[in-house]
Protein backbone atom coordinates (compact mmCIF):
# COMPACT_ATOMS: atom_id res chain seq x y z
CA UNK A 1 0.00 0.00 0.00
CA UNK A 2 1.15 3.48 -0.87
CA UNK A 3 0.04 6.77 0.44
CA UNK A 4 -0.19 9.98 -1.47
CA UNK A 5 1.90 12.65 0.10
CA UNK A 6 -1.12 15.04 0.00
CA UNK A 7 -4.64 14.02 1.07
CA UNK A 8 -7.14 14.26 -1.74
CA UNK A 9 -9.94 16.80 -1.06
CA UNK A 10 -12.26 19.32 -2.67
CA UNK A 11 -11.07 22.48 -4.22
CA UNK A 12 -12.79 25.75 -3.30
CA UNK A 13 -14.41 25.84 -6.72
CA UNK A 14 -15.85 22.33 -6.26
CA UNK A 15 -17.25 23.23 -2.85
CA UNK A 16 -18.88 26.38 -4.29
CA UNK A 17 -20.38 24.42 -7.19
CA UNK A 18 -21.62 21.74 -4.77
CA UNK A 19 -23.24 24.30 -2.47
CA UNK A 20 -24.82 26.06 -5.44
CA UNK A 21 -26.24 22.73 -6.65
CA UNK A 22 -27.61 22.02 -3.18
CA UNK A 23 -29.16 25.48 -3.11
CA UNK A 24 -30.85 24.92 -6.46
CA UNK A 25 -32.17 21.54 -5.29
CA UNK A 26 -33.52 23.05 -2.05
CA UNK A 27 -35.15 25.94 -3.91
CA UNK A 28 -36.81 23.48 -6.28
CA UNK A 29 -38.00 21.41 -3.31
CA UNK A 30 -39.44 24.47 -1.56
CA UNK A 31 -41.15 25.55 -4.78
CA UNK A 32 -42.70 22.11 -5.18
CA UNK A 33 -43.89 22.10 -1.58
CA UNK A 34 -45.35 25.62 -1.76
CA UNK A 35 -47.09 24.85 -5.07
CA UNK A 36 -48.65 21.74 -3.55
CA UNK A 37 -49.78 23.68 -0.47
CA UNK A 38 -51.18 26.48 -2.64
CA UNK A 39 -53.08 23.96 -4.76
CA UNK A 40 -54.49 22.39 -1.61
CA UNK A 41 -55.55 25.80 -0.26
CA UNK A 42 -57.20 26.74 -3.58
CA UNK A 43 -59.05 23.44 -3.60
CA UNK A 44 -60.30 24.00 -0.04
CA UNK A 45 -61.42 27.55 -0.81
CA UNK A 46 -63.25 26.46 -3.94
CA UNK A 47 -65.08 23.61 -2.23
CA UNK A 48 -65.98 25.79 0.76
CA UNK A 49 -67.42 28.44 -1.57
CA UNK A 50 -69.46 25.88 -3.53
CA UNK A 51 -70.75 24.35 -0.28
CA UNK A 52 -71.69 27.69 1.28
CA UNK A 53 -73.48 28.87 -1.89
CA UNK A 54 -75.36 25.60 -2.07
CA UNK A 55 -76.37 26.01 1.57
CA UNK A 56 -77.42 29.62 0.86
CA UNK A 57 -79.58 28.44 -2.06
CA UNK A 58 -81.38 25.89 0.15
CA UNK A 59 -81.95 28.44 2.91
CA UNK A 60 -83.11 31.15 0.48
CA UNK A 61 -85.63 28.86 -1.24
CA UNK A 62 -86.97 27.67 2.11
CA UNK A 63 -87.39 31.29 3.32
CA UNK A 64 -89.12 32.44 0.12
CA UNK A 65 -91.44 29.41 0.19
CA UNK A 66 -92.49 30.26 3.75
CA UNK A 67 -93.07 33.95 2.99
CA UNK A 68 -96.39 35.50 1.99
CA UNK A 69 -95.20 38.92 0.79
CA UNK A 70 -92.19 41.16 0.20
CA UNK A 71 -93.08 44.40 2.02
CA UNK A 72 -91.45 47.76 1.34
CA UNK A 73 -90.16 48.22 4.85
CA UNK A 74 -89.59 46.32 8.06
CA UNK A 75 -87.99 47.96 11.12
CA UNK A 76 -84.91 49.78 9.83
CA UNK A 77 -84.73 47.76 6.62
CA UNK A 78 -85.85 49.21 3.30
CA UNK A 79 -86.57 47.00 0.29
CA UNK A 80 -84.22 47.51 -2.66
CA UNK A 81 -81.79 45.80 -5.04
CA UNK A 82 -79.52 45.00 -2.11
CA UNK A 83 -82.19 44.24 0.50
CA UNK A 84 -85.01 41.72 0.40
CA UNK A 85 -87.71 41.54 3.07
CA UNK A 86 -89.74 38.33 3.32
CA UNK A 87 -92.77 38.64 5.59
CA UNK A 88 -94.36 35.52 7.04
CA UNK A 89 -97.91 34.82 8.20
CA UNK A 90 -96.93 34.87 11.87
CA UNK A 91 -95.68 38.51 11.66
CA UNK A 92 -92.09 37.38 11.70
CA UNK A 93 -89.83 38.20 8.79
CA UNK A 94 -86.54 37.30 7.20
CA UNK A 95 -84.36 40.00 5.70
CA UNK A 96 -81.49 39.38 3.31
CA UNK A 97 -79.16 42.33 3.11
CA UNK A 98 -76.03 42.81 1.03
CA UNK A 99 -73.85 45.53 2.50
CA UNK A 100 -70.10 46.21 2.46
CA UNK A 101 -69.42 43.04 0.53
CA UNK A 102 -71.26 40.85 3.04
CA UNK A 103 -74.55 39.01 2.77
CA UNK A 104 -76.44 38.85 6.05
CA UNK A 105 -79.64 36.97 6.82
CA UNK A 106 -81.67 38.59 9.62
CA UNK A 107 -84.37 36.43 11.17
CA UNK A 108 -86.78 38.86 12.84
CA UNK A 109 -89.02 36.88 15.14
CA UNK A 110 -91.84 38.30 17.28
CA UNK A 111 -89.63 38.43 20.36
CA UNK A 112 -86.06 38.08 19.22
CA UNK A 113 -83.83 38.60 16.23
CA UNK A 114 -80.88 36.59 15.00
CA UNK A 115 -78.46 37.18 12.19
CA UNK A 116 -76.09 35.12 10.15
CA UNK A 117 -73.43 36.11 7.61
CA UNK A 118 -72.96 34.05 4.47
CA UNK A 119 -69.55 34.01 2.80
CA UNK A 120 -70.14 34.78 -0.86
CA UNK A 121 -66.66 34.77 -2.27
CA UNK A 122 -64.76 37.98 -1.68
CA UNK A 123 -64.47 41.61 -2.72
CA UNK A 124 -65.25 40.96 -6.37
CA UNK A 125 -68.66 39.42 -5.76
CA UNK A 126 -71.90 41.38 -5.61
CA UNK A 127 -75.48 40.38 -4.86
CA UNK A 128 -78.74 41.87 -6.02
CA UNK A 129 -82.35 40.86 -5.51
CA UNK A 130 -85.20 40.91 -8.01
CA UNK A 131 -88.87 40.42 -7.29
CA UNK A 132 -91.81 39.18 -9.31
CA UNK A 133 -93.71 35.90 -9.36
CA UNK A 134 -90.25 34.50 -8.71
CA UNK A 135 -87.94 36.06 -6.15
CA UNK A 136 -84.36 36.00 -7.36
CA UNK A 137 -80.98 36.31 -5.67
CA UNK A 138 -78.22 36.90 -8.17
CA UNK A 139 -74.54 36.58 -7.32
CA UNK A 140 -72.11 38.12 -9.78
CA UNK A 141 -68.39 37.41 -9.61
CA UNK A 142 -66.12 39.79 -11.48
CA UNK A 143 -62.58 38.70 -10.68
CA UNK A 144 -59.73 41.00 -11.78
CA UNK A 145 -58.43 38.15 -13.94
CA UNK A 146 -60.58 35.59 -15.67
CA UNK A 147 -64.13 35.55 -16.92
CA UNK A 148 -67.05 37.02 -14.97
CA UNK A 149 -69.42 34.38 -13.65
CA UNK A 150 -72.87 34.53 -12.13
CA UNK A 151 -75.21 32.35 -10.12
CA UNK A 152 -78.94 32.93 -9.91
CA UNK A 153 -81.16 31.41 -7.26
CA UNK A 154 -84.88 31.73 -7.93
CA UNK A 155 -87.78 30.70 -5.72
CA UNK A 156 -91.55 30.84 -5.92
CA UNK A 157 -92.98 33.23 -3.33
CA UNK A 158 -95.21 31.24 -1.04
CA UNK A 159 -93.95 27.92 -2.37
CA UNK A 160 -96.75 25.51 -3.15
CA UNK A 161 -99.55 27.90 -2.17
CA UNK A 162 -100.48 28.34 -5.78
Amino acid sequence: MTLSPRRAGFSLLEAVVCMFGLGVAMAAGILLLSTTLKANRLSDQGMTLVRSRSELADQFRADVARARATPQQRDSFQRGPDCLILARDDRSAVVYQFRDGKLTRHDLGPNNATRRDYPIGGDHSTIRFEEGPLVRLKIEDRPPTGLPRSLEIAAALGGDRR
Partner: protein, 141 residues
Protein backbone atom coordinates in the same frame (compact mmCIF):
# COMPACT_ATOMS: atom_id res chain seq x y z
CA UNK B 1 -6.34 1.66 8.53
CA UNK B 2 -4.47 2.99 5.59
CA UNK B 3 -6.16 2.83 2.25
CA UNK B 4 -4.89 3.33 -1.19
CA UNK B 5 -6.31 6.35 -2.93
CA UNK B 6 -7.70 5.91 -6.40
CA UNK B 7 -6.01 7.75 -9.17
CA UNK B 8 -9.44 8.94 -10.33
CA UNK B 9 -10.96 11.78 -8.35
CA UNK B 10 -14.32 11.04 -6.79
CA UNK B 11 -17.18 13.07 -8.27
CA UNK B 12 -20.57 12.93 -9.89
CA UNK B 13 -21.04 11.13 -13.15
CA UNK B 14 -23.14 12.53 -15.96
CA UNK B 15 -25.60 9.67 -15.47
CA UNK B 16 -26.07 10.58 -11.79
CA UNK B 17 -26.64 14.21 -12.74
CA UNK B 18 -29.17 13.24 -15.38
CA UNK B 19 -31.04 11.02 -12.90
CA UNK B 20 -31.06 13.77 -10.24
CA UNK B 21 -32.37 16.39 -12.64
CA UNK B 22 -34.86 13.87 -14.03
CA UNK B 23 -36.24 13.32 -10.53
CA UNK B 24 -36.49 17.05 -9.97
CA UNK B 25 -38.26 17.50 -13.31
CA UNK B 26 -40.67 14.70 -12.40
CA UNK B 27 -41.45 16.43 -9.11
CA UNK B 28 -42.02 19.74 -10.88
CA UNK B 29 -44.26 18.01 -13.41
CA UNK B 30 -46.24 16.37 -10.62
CA UNK B 31 -46.73 19.67 -8.78
CA UNK B 32 -47.78 21.46 -11.99
CA UNK B 33 -50.24 18.69 -12.85
CA UNK B 34 -51.62 18.77 -9.32
CA UNK B 35 -52.17 22.52 -9.57
CA UNK B 36 -53.90 22.19 -12.95
CA UNK B 37 -56.09 19.34 -11.67
CA UNK B 38 -57.15 21.40 -8.66
CA UNK B 39 -58.08 24.37 -10.87
CA UNK B 40 -59.99 22.06 -13.21
CA UNK B 41 -61.89 20.42 -10.34
CA UNK B 42 -62.73 23.82 -8.91
CA UNK B 43 -64.07 24.96 -12.26
CA UNK B 44 -66.09 21.75 -12.64
CA UNK B 45 -67.58 22.10 -9.15
CA UNK B 46 -68.60 25.68 -9.96
CA UNK B 47 -70.14 24.57 -13.27
CA UNK B 48 -72.09 21.85 -11.50
CA UNK B 49 -73.43 24.29 -8.92
CA UNK B 50 -74.57 26.64 -11.72
CA UNK B 51 -76.23 23.70 -13.52
CA UNK B 52 -78.03 22.45 -10.39
CA UNK B 53 -79.30 25.93 -9.51
CA UNK B 54 -80.43 26.56 -13.10
CA UNK B 55 -82.44 23.34 -13.13
CA UNK B 56 -83.82 24.10 -9.67
CA UNK B 57 -84.81 27.62 -10.86
CA UNK B 58 -86.78 26.07 -13.74
CA UNK B 59 -88.67 23.85 -11.29
CA UNK B 60 -89.41 26.91 -9.13
CA UNK B 61 -90.69 28.74 -12.22
CA UNK B 62 -93.00 25.80 -12.89
CA UNK B 63 -94.13 25.86 -9.29
CA UNK B 64 -94.96 29.59 -9.50
CA UNK B 65 -97.18 29.11 -12.57
CA UNK B 66 -100.96 28.87 -12.36
CA UNK B 67 -102.03 25.25 -12.88
CA UNK B 68 -103.66 25.89 -16.27
CA UNK B 69 -100.50 27.48 -17.66
CA UNK B 70 -98.30 24.55 -16.71
CA UNK B 71 -98.35 22.91 -20.13
CA UNK B 72 -95.98 21.21 -22.60
CA UNK B 73 -96.15 24.45 -24.65
CA UNK B 74 -94.79 26.41 -21.69
CA UNK B 75 -92.06 23.80 -21.31
CA UNK B 76 -91.10 24.08 -24.97
CA UNK B 77 -90.62 27.84 -24.61
CA UNK B 78 -88.13 27.54 -21.76
CA UNK B 79 -84.62 28.66 -22.71
CA UNK B 80 -81.32 28.59 -20.93
CA UNK B 81 -80.53 32.02 -19.41
CA UNK B 82 -77.80 33.73 -21.50
CA UNK B 83 -75.36 34.09 -18.62
CA UNK B 84 -75.67 30.36 -17.89
CA UNK B 85 -75.21 29.51 -21.57
CA UNK B 86 -71.94 31.42 -21.51
CA UNK B 87 -70.73 29.44 -18.50
CA UNK B 88 -71.74 25.92 -19.56
CA UNK B 89 -70.30 24.76 -22.86
CA UNK B 90 -72.73 23.15 -25.33
CA UNK B 91 -75.49 23.10 -22.74
CA UNK B 92 -78.81 21.62 -23.92
CA UNK B 93 -81.73 22.69 -21.74
CA UNK B 94 -84.76 20.41 -21.84
CA UNK B 95 -87.95 21.00 -19.88
CA UNK B 96 -90.85 18.56 -20.07
CA UNK B 97 -94.34 18.78 -18.60
CA UNK B 98 -96.49 15.68 -18.79
CA UNK B 99 -99.70 14.69 -17.01
CA UNK B 100 -99.47 11.62 -14.84
CA UNK B 101 -101.23 8.78 -16.59
CA UNK B 102 -103.36 7.49 -13.72
CA UNK B 103 -103.69 10.76 -11.75
CA UNK B 104 -105.29 13.64 -13.67
CA UNK B 105 -104.62 16.13 -10.85
CA UNK B 106 -100.85 15.68 -11.15
CA UNK B 107 -98.29 16.90 -13.63
CA UNK B 108 -94.72 15.68 -13.83
CA UNK B 109 -92.13 18.38 -14.58
CA UNK B 110 -88.69 17.14 -15.62
CA UNK B 111 -85.71 19.38 -16.31
CA UNK B 112 -82.55 17.99 -17.89
CA UNK B 113 -79.32 19.90 -18.40
CA UNK B 114 -76.36 18.16 -20.05
CA UNK B 115 -73.24 20.16 -20.92
CA UNK B 116 -69.56 19.69 -21.70
CA UNK B 117 -66.47 20.46 -19.67
CA UNK B 118 -63.85 22.88 -20.99
CA UNK B 119 -61.75 19.95 -22.27
CA UNK B 120 -64.69 18.70 -24.37
CA UNK B 121 -65.62 15.72 -22.21
CA UNK B 122 -69.29 15.23 -21.38
CA UNK B 123 -70.22 16.38 -17.87
CA UNK B 124 -72.58 14.35 -15.74
CA UNK B 125 -75.96 15.83 -16.67
CA UNK B 126 -78.18 17.37 -14.01
CA UNK B 127 -81.75 16.13 -14.05
CA UNK B 128 -84.49 16.96 -11.53
CA UNK B 129 -88.14 15.97 -11.50
CA UNK B 130 -91.05 17.26 -9.46
CA UNK B 131 -94.72 16.37 -9.28
CA UNK B 132 -97.07 19.34 -9.05
CA UNK B 133 -100.67 18.95 -7.97
CA UNK B 134 -103.80 20.90 -8.78
CA UNK B 135 -104.77 21.65 -5.22
CA UNK B 136 -108.04 23.32 -6.15
CA UNK B 137 -109.16 19.96 -7.54
CA UNK B 138 -108.00 18.02 -4.56
CA UNK B 139 -104.33 17.53 -5.31
CA UNK B 140 -103.35 14.06 -6.39
CA UNK B 141 -106.89 12.64 -6.28
Amino acid sequence: MISRHSTRRPGITTMELVIAFGLLALGALFATQLGLDVLQERLRATERLVAIETVDNALEAARALPWAELTPEWAAKQKLPPDVASQLRDARFQVQVAPEADKPGLKRVTVLLPWKHADGTEARAVSLTTLLADRQRGGDQ
